[in-house]
């Protein structure tokens, strides 16, 4: 027994020596040939069918020889957890595209590099939309740069409007007008309903429902990120949705929809109105030419009020990256030539000048609405987005479902505010 073991250890030592030796040789030869630097880049699926980010990375790789980017796509609902865990284990990528709503969280934790310098030096820094810039700020420093954009707007089915006796070219301008239109459309009978929303999806509703609160001048979060769920504007908006539901203008299946359907029922041609974003337009135009639709800003209580959720991604460099120079070069490309590429796909870019020049002309009617939405777009700023809003058992969705399906708006608001305050205190 012992005899064989000794033999074995000699052999292993020899193999190890050879291995070390050859890798040394390998390294030396690599340095000599100056291979391109590979940046690791993570992103959630973006754009139609999630594939837009791959096209963009391919474009970058095509136009650069000294830097190459390697893309990893991570499913949306695990994104934050994966990036955070990777960062903690020292395993993080060099760059990440991140839903702008999470930048404060990562900035607070010190996971992102300070890019204030790049921001200040950028020629086009005044061309970025306000919301994306605001979310990059933490304690007066910039921790990311605007990347891709998204905005929420109201889609309406012109044919159904006509059938219900409404002017198909006139978009509803207040919540009350939406409610009345929805009722008239549902009265057409059959499976036809006036409105659709996802009843069990927190993210869908911060995207398409919160603007109704903002348009009135209210908010769900205060400037410092503390919760404001019990506001009177929120009550008005919740009452509006509750009326929609109680009047039977929303399909029953909406109650259970956790976002899997999101705005899809609109594609059946049997739904009068739905809140959705820019991502929804190309598919409608290409695959459903039979649906004549219009796009309009999400309104408030009075004519002239409107708002939109500014969504999309920002792009950030992870602290501890081994290639800071190349990472910054990527950021510069992504916020300049990359924006042109995006706009052509089409994807709503965060550079307003590029949006106006390249994006809007592709669909002057609908894309102009998206552009306007981006101009007024808001994004809630908080370092506790996950617990306060994203969590399906968190206060945001609980307030929503409690008020609309449970029927007790005041109670739901109060309970949500309590829960939110506890969370806010704990996670500050």
């Amino acid at each position: 027994m012992r005899y064989t073991l000794k033999r074995k250890s000699w052999a292993t030592a020899l193999v190890a020596a050879v291995a070390v030796g050859s890798s040394c040789l390998g390294l030396m030869s690599q340095a000599a040939s100056a291979a391109p630097v590979t940046l690791t880049f993570w992103s959630r699926p973006q754009g139609e069918n999630g594939g837009i980010i791959k096209l963009m990375i391919d474009e970058f790789n095509r136009t650069h020889t000294d830097i190459q980017a390697k893309l990893t796509i991570i499913p949306q609902d695990q994104f934050v957890q994966k990036v955070a865990t990777a960062y903690r284990s020292g395993d993080a990528p060099d760059i990440t595209s991140v839903d702008l709503i999470y930048v404060p969280y990562f900035a607070k934790a010190g996971a992102f590099e300070d890019v204030t310098g790049i921001y200040n030096a950028a020629k086009y820094k005044n061309q970025w939309d306000k919301a994306h810039v605001a979310l990059s700020l933490y304690k007066n420093k910039m921790y990311s740069l605007p990347f891709t954009a998204e905005g929420s707007v109201l889609f309406w089915n012109k044919d159904l409007f006509k059938q219900a006796g409404l002017d198909p070219e006139k978009a509803p301008r207040t919540m009350a007008e939406i409610l009345s239109a929805a009722k008239k459309i549902s009265a057409l009978g059959g499976d036809i309903k006036g409105y659709y929303f996802s009843g069990a999806c927190s993210g869908c509703n911060i995207f398409t429902f919160a603007p109704y609160i903002w348009a009135q001048g209210g908010d769900v979060l205060n400037k410092d990120g503390s919760p404001n769920f019990a506001s009177k504007e929120a009550k008005v908006a919740l009452q509006f949705y509750k009326d929609l539901w109680d009047a039977g203008t929303v399909p029953e299946s909406a109650k259970n929809d956790n976002g899997a359907s999101f705005a899809a029922p609109f594609l059946t041609g049997k739904v009068g109105m739905v809140g959705a974003g820019a991502f929804f337009i190309p598919g409608l135009v290409k695959d459903h030419p039979e649906i004549h639709f219009g796009v309009t800003p999400l309104p408030g209580a009075k004519v002239g009020q409107s708002s939109s959720f500014a969504g999309g991604d920002n792009i950030a460099v992870l602290k501890g990256t081994k290639h800071p120079k190349e990472a910054r070069a990527f950021l510069s490309w992504a916020t300049d030539k990359g924006q042109e590429f995006l706009a052509k796909q089409p994807v709503l870019p965060t550079r307003l000048d590029v949006a106006q020049k390249t994006y809007v002309p592709l669909d002057p009617v609908n894309y102009k609405v998206m552009y306007d939405a981006l101009l007024v777009g808001k994004t809630p700023w908080t370092t506790s987005y996950n617990s306060l809003i994203q969590d399906n058992q968190g206060p945001w969705l609980k307030m929503f479902t409690g008020a609309i399906f449970g029927g007790d708006i005041d109670g739901a608001q109060k309970a949500a505010q309590n829960q939110a305050e506890q969370i806010y205190k704990k996670e500050k």
């Binding site: 990893t72 284990s89 598919g283």
Partner: protein, 298 residues
């Protein structure tokens, strides 16, 4: 609906009035069988519809036109949610299963034999440690394991995931192998001992072959566990190309502009289910005896 008849063994089948008459028994069994099978059958039927038909509401039970469209999409999918086509993910599941089965077999046959044949200090303690494993919600252990793994580069790897699967198969597998070995007479090995064989050689050349039914059962259960597990896979693997099948199923319900294509989802479900069903049909008796041996005698 409680079945109160008690059937006496062997010769007494069908005699007297203590058993339900054959016809009644048959009816009940067939109804139950239908109940158990129908969801699977439903899934199969729905997966064979065209994309348009599967979105039809209200649905028809049979496909208006039989179509392999959903399966084709699974294989050819090159954009969007499941790029790479389904074969990659099947392969991942296969690799994972192979790792789990081999690892579990080696560890549990050795350990089962050790527990069955020998008495040594701390035997009770080790056994208790194994029992403890079924008491702890293993989701709770996933995060520390992830951190541990990332120190050694095992995170985000099928190998790392497989090592976890092996470990959590151990309680059941060790019990099973222990029981199997306990039934094999010691005498068979004792003769060889006198001849100067090492314990290991006895184990390998005499006992193991005799324990074949147990070995096959352990392999089968390890396969099922690794093929179907989903939460640990979801947590440990971050890169889509390495996902095993069950995790891909969750992606199939992800919204992509359209409503969930349930026919497509069921096709994915079928692809995940079929290997299990086929294996089960072929190796039934081992599966059954495995459950008995592993479950009861522990």
């Amino acid at each position: 609906m409680k079945k109160n008849e008690l059937v006496l063994k062997k010769r007494k089948v069908g005699s007297r009035n203590s058993s339900i008459p054959f016809r009644g028994w048959l009816v009940i069994c067939v109804s139950l069988m239908t109940l158990f099978l129908s969801p699977i059958l439903a899934s199969l039927l729905h997966s064979l519809k065209t994309a348009k038909d599967s979105a039809m509401s209200p649905p028809t039970f049979l496909p208006p036109t039989f179509s392999l469209e959903n399966y084709k999409s699974l294989v050819n999918s090159s954009t969007g949610v499941i790029s790479n086509g389904i074969y990659l993910y099947i392969w991942n599941s296969v690799v994972l299963a192979v790792i789990t089965v081999i690892g579990t077999l080696i560890l549990s046959t050795l350990a089962g034999y050790g527990f069955a044949r020998f008495n040594f200090k701390g035997k009770e303690l080790f056994f208790a440690a194994i029992l403890l494993m079924i008491m702890v919600p293993f989701q709770a252990l996933l995060t520390p394991i992830y951190f541990l793994f990332s120190q050694t580069g095992l995170q985000n790897s099928l190998l790392g995931l497989g090592l976890i699967y092996i470990t959590y198969q151990l309680p059941f597998s060790i019990f099973l192998m222990r029981n199997t070995f306990m039934v094999i007479p010691k005498a068979l090995g004792e003769a060889a001992l006198v001849d100067g064989c090492t314990q290991f050689k006895i184990f390998k050349t005499i006992m193991l072959p005799l324990a074949r039914p147990g070995v096959i059962s352990v392999a089968l259960f390890a396969f099922f566990a690794s093929w179907n597990e989903f939460i640990a896979a979801l947590t440990m693997i971050s890169v889509q190309e390495k996902y095993p099948l069950p995790v891909i199923l969750t992606l199939l319900t992800d919204r992509q502009m359209g409503a969930t294509n349930f026919g497509f989802l069921q096709a994915g479900v079928m692809v995940t289910m079929i290997p299990c069903i086929v294996l089960f049909l072929f190796l039934q008796k081992y599966y059954v005896s495995g459950l008995i041996s592993g479950g009861v005698k522990s």
